[in-house]
């Protein structure tokens, strides 16, 4: 059994040590807010926080997480009303929405270390793929949160 702390709760999971965290979350724990997009850390749909740092969970073996604190989109806020989520709604960012869990988690991690990121810093840090092309609103929403 592997012991994990996810969104503040303890979980014991029967999984291979090399199973990526993404699939532990989705298939073992039924936490499906974190998405599968590519499996090779290219798209970022699977982004979660490990000790507050954005990680692409599709290539993160569960054994590598240890006793770190894992935060998923489900744990970002209880009612979906964090400043970032509110800005996302205000700007009507999502379209299909599939990539947005990962995008929001990536941006949230960025804002933790750079509360007022420049465009260049956003470009460098946010490499998530959004096939619907919501990037312009993503940027506007980030700047809105940074202003607050």
């Amino acid at each position: 059994m592997i012991n994990l702390t996810i969104n503040g709760a303890a979980h014991a999971v029967d999984a291979s040590p090399d199973m990526p965290l993404l699939w532990v979350l989705r298939d073992k724990l039924g936490m499906t807010g974190t998405k599968f997009g590519c499996g090779i850390a290219q798209c970022g749909a699977c982004t979660v926080h490990v000790n507050g740092v954005a990680m692409r969970s599709c290539v993160t073996p569960v054994s590598a997480v240890g006793d770190a604190e894992i935060t998923t989109i489900e744990g970002l806020s209880e009612h979906g009303d964090s400043p970032l989520q509110k800005a996302w709604v205000a700007h009507q960012v999502p379209q299909c929405g599939y990539c947005q869990s990962g995008l929001i988690m990536a941006v949230d991690a960025l804002l933790k270390v750079k509360p007022k990121p420049t465009d260049a810093e956003i470009n460098a840090a946010i490499s998530n793929i959004c096939r619907c092309g919501t990037y312009a609103r993503v940027r506007d929403a980030i700047h809105d949160v940074a202003k607050a």
Binding site: T32, C43, E74, V89, C99, S127, C132, G133, Y135, R139
Partner: protein, 718 residues
Amino acid sequence: MNKIFKLDRRNFLKASAVAGGGMMLGFHIPAANAAVTKESEVNAWIVVNSDDTVLIRVAHSEMGQGSMTALAQLVAEELDCNWSQVKTAFVDPRLNITRKKVYGGMATVGSRAVRTSQEYLRKAGAGARDMLVRAAAQTWKVPAGECTAKAGVVTHTASKRTLKYGALAEAAAKLAPSADVALKDPATWTIAGQPKMRLDMQDKVMGKAVYAIDIMLPDMLFAAIAQSPVFGGKLKSYDEAAIKNFKGVRQVVTLENAVAVVGDSYWEAQRAVRALPVVWDDAGNGKVSSASIAQFLDEGLKMDGAPVARNDGDVAKAMTTAVKTVSAEYRVPYLSHAAMEPMNCTVRFTDDGLDIWAPTQNAEAILNAAARASGLDPLKINVNLTYSGGGFGRRGGAAAGDYVDQAVLIAKAVGKPVKMIWSREEDIQHDFYRPISSAKMTAGLDASGMPVAWNTRISGHSILTTANPSALKDNMDVGFLVLFADNVYDVPNMKVDFALRKTHVPVGYWRSVNHSQNAYFRECFVDEMALAAGQDPYEYRRKLLHKAPKQLAVLEAAAKAADWGKPLPAGQFRGIAQIDGYGSYVAAVAEISMKPDGSPKVHRVVTSVDCGYVVNPDTVRAQLEGATAWALTALLYNEITLKDGRVEQGNFDRYRMLLAADMPKVEVVLVPSGGFWGGIGEPGSPPVGPAVVNAMLAATGKPSRSQPLIKRGGAASA
């Protein structure tokens, strides 16, 4: 009932007759088999609940384009309900069978959701309002004409008595609908026409929006699949012993052209299927390459006797009068959809039928595919509808049943519920691709520089070869020639013909479909003509559009918003393009500078759109912003190439997507002229690519006649 999705019925129904006994998802999740209570179902589209909430049924798919909200706005507008009390539910496709197609066509393709259903949806809303008003009038024993409805309340004007819709629904449902209820003048709209917040937003920022890939069922197993890498190929043999020690593997299932491994988790199944040695029969297609296909298309550009779609005047004769001739060949590659939610399907056989979940643009197509694959009566098939993580045409066409067929057959073989997920590699390598196409255009210009003759040969792989071969009469597909066969530029002598090319690659509908390549061919060639004539490409188009006022209006709107003609910072250049399509008119101006590698840096894109009536202006803006990213991704990066009969790209490392860093500033100018209903999902992207390429022409004086501009490895193409 599984532990992930708790049944949350709330108080939205007066009774609890759950149709079909299938699994109900939470109310915020559009449930296919939404419960029906006769008392409160005012008509097929509208259920008014005792707490005054209104359930509006949506027959089209929500894959990001926003029509779930827009369609509800149209109904709510005429219903005069309180928008904050509106909920939606997707229509169970079985209901569309048993109710004799009352919900119309459910295919969510061709930017058609709003424009093909707006009339019957508005009538449904108006008809229900009329019934609610008459129910109130009966209660008060007053003429209905003395009552008005607003925000979910009926008022008897004289006595100031009021009744809420929730209290009237049961009586209203018993009334016969009126034969003809007048619809509102769109100028008076207060719900439609407004930038209402999308109804799916909150769930989508919380990770709570449910996609088919998220479905978890008790006792469910997971399947990963390997399909014949060469299109048309078949499974010959495989060596199961090679994976016999793999953990979490339950079973190998063989299909005609694929092999699936079923396991305890998707990852374990996928790891095993990737390690499984498989021998394929390539059906004789194993030598096809991009080079051989390119040669085949080039032969099409030269061949004699191509069927003619349009032949105005006498092109050959007019060419002899030209003082200058412009000629060019343009080329585009096959493209993959790459929706972010990979293809997947979950199937659970029940005592007498099956439950199915799949991302789709057409719930009826899922139903039919599942019926075909299982041999079950369609009425025994419970299609559970969810949001779709993108679609872009991949999940809506006639051939879209491939993933459904597979999951049904696998679940049948396993005897347990199975969720099948394609890896991203399977997704990109087993698509129905945007067709490869080439165009050879020749124009003859007169002394004033304007074209007197324009000859176009298109050589390409018609979608009908895959989607509907019987529609290909005499090797002609006029749809493949869109923007040429119906070219609105005023050129007196115009000829358009077509060399049909069919390869073993499956082709299909990809966002903007044939507009995606033909806008590039046509609009860049117009700039080549303007350059040869020494004229400004915007003014040149204005002259050619003197008989096309709507196209001219969006062109002028985009040019004005983009300050066409005014100076730009040093090193920046503008390009312009315009198209009509899907009932709408769109123009774009791009501002670029050239990078040292010869590719463009796109700084700003201004697009203008006339879609007639606007149902949700923010959704229109979002679609045009997204369409800009879609267009730039294809223009800059995308190319599906073939070697040994198979696709060379497999994942986003080799099939690159536009990222935030590449996204230009986008300004959308809405210039709705009213009086018609145009689509919005598809027409936004076609003018963006050519506007960028035309800006490159302005920058360098050299045309860019093939896509993508950046070939794999980073170097810009010639």
